[in-house]
Subunit: 251 residues, 2 copies
């Protein structure tokens, strides 16, 4: 919840490359997947690749919304601040995430790189052009936005009505379901090793809790043999089903 007022966007390695999209390993996971191979040069011409160092803010809430971003590597946190520094993390943007959908003239949130982040940047006008030329892209964006809305509503339920225990369980289950292999329900025996690129403080700001409550609750899960905590950036889910039940308030 502390306001570690970081410096302004420090951006290294900005460059253009017409053929960049052809070898983009994030494409299958992103909105760009709807653009056919034949049109990749057109897409690449509109994009600028930007690398953002960990801890640096590349979108500042309130700034004029000139660009749209597509995360192609690393994870960023999206957040909003109150004047006294209280922070709400509204989401984590991983590879494939499309950022900047706000139609208004200024950004509604800030974005800061947690790890080394690589993004594809489009200017507002260039994206407009792409949307006009590729209606499929517009359809895809609507689909993405609709899914985001569903996720946002789920998060409102969490923030408004769930207990600390339920919030942490929800968070762990959501992270576990991100895992490439078992995108569903692992049995209570199987071990799922989830990666946490964010600090406890960022988890707290995401779940509307304090860092101490996050820590205590995780310790309790460990004591109950629901999880293991090998180190600060990894958690092993031992009892997925049990955690899932806690997450959905069935306990």
């Amino acid at each position: 919840m502390t306001a570690t007022t970081r410096s302004r966007p420090l951006v290294i390695d900005v460059h253009r490359d017409q053929s960049i999209c052809a070898h983009c390993q994030a494409r299958p996971f992103s909105v760009c997947s709807v653009i056919g191979d034949d049109d990749l040069e057109r897409l690449g011409a509109a994009a600028v690749t930007v690398t953002v160092q960990p801890g640096h803010t590349f979108i500042q809430e309130g700034d004029p919304a000139e660009h749209f971003f597509n995360v192609t590597a690393g994870t960023a946190k999206l957040f909003k601040l109150l004047p006294d520094g209280r922070r709400q993390v509204t989401g984590f943007a991983a590879t494939g995430y499309f950022l900047g959908l706000a139609v208004s003239s200024s950004y509604a949130f800030s974005a800061e790189a947690l790890e080394l982040v690589r993004v594809c940047r489009f200017s507002r006008s260039k994206l407009r052009g792409l949307l006009d030329d590729f209606p499929a892209l517009e359809k895809k964006l609507l689909e993405v936005a609709s899914n985001e809305l569903v996720v946002a509503q789920e998060q409102m339920l969490l923030l408004g009505r769930k207990t600390a225990r339920e919030r942490l369980a929800s968070f762990l289950i959501a992270r576990a379901n991100l895992l490439p292999h078992c995108a569903g329900h692992a049995p209570d025996g199987a071990k799922e090793r989830i990666h946490l690129p964010m600090t406890r403080s960022e988890i707290a700001d995401y779940l509307g809790l304090t860092i101490e409550t996050v820590s205590r609750t995780l310790s309790r899960f460990k004591a109950e043999q629901l999880i293991e905590i090998p180190n600060n950036t990894e958690i092993v889910v031992l009892k997925h089903e049990t955690l899932d039940n806690i997450a959905t308030g069935m306990t």
Copy 2:
């Protein structure tokens, strides 16, 4: 927060009318405004008008998402439930609101009429057809969804980080800004009479509080001469600016 398990959708007065859109007074406020006068018959042919009685649920979370809705009169509450009945109201849908954007196969939330509600109902396939024929409609929907996302993020900040006092102030200011005339900042002198079609309990479920806290906080605002409470469905904002400052955490 109590689960008043209402009956299933009780729908009266369902009818079709090709020319309905031509006299729709909700059109200027809704996504349909992007359809030109010449194409209104096409739009009307796809829509079914449905009237929903107060207290009746016309969208049930988890049900297959077969329809999209456009509210043309009245206000509905959108909400999600936990198994034990805890409720989170994720929004209020007034005239012009487009409902059902969830792209997944089932609804992510329920919707219940607060007053007598009238909606325009489109089947999934009919809407698909409209979107293919009117790209402007798709653009508009993306714009609407993007705005919804911004609102959702603001609500996450409220639910995760604001105090009860700040939440109520935010709610009152948001309602005041809905007023047709002064869509901005009324001076601290001017009286703004806001209408509340929802009960205290629904306000509580929207703000992540209890009914008692809502009531106490409003009473305190009244004691501080920030508002007047002529009756249960109306509140007069006396000091817009002061409330706005409270809402944004500047106190």
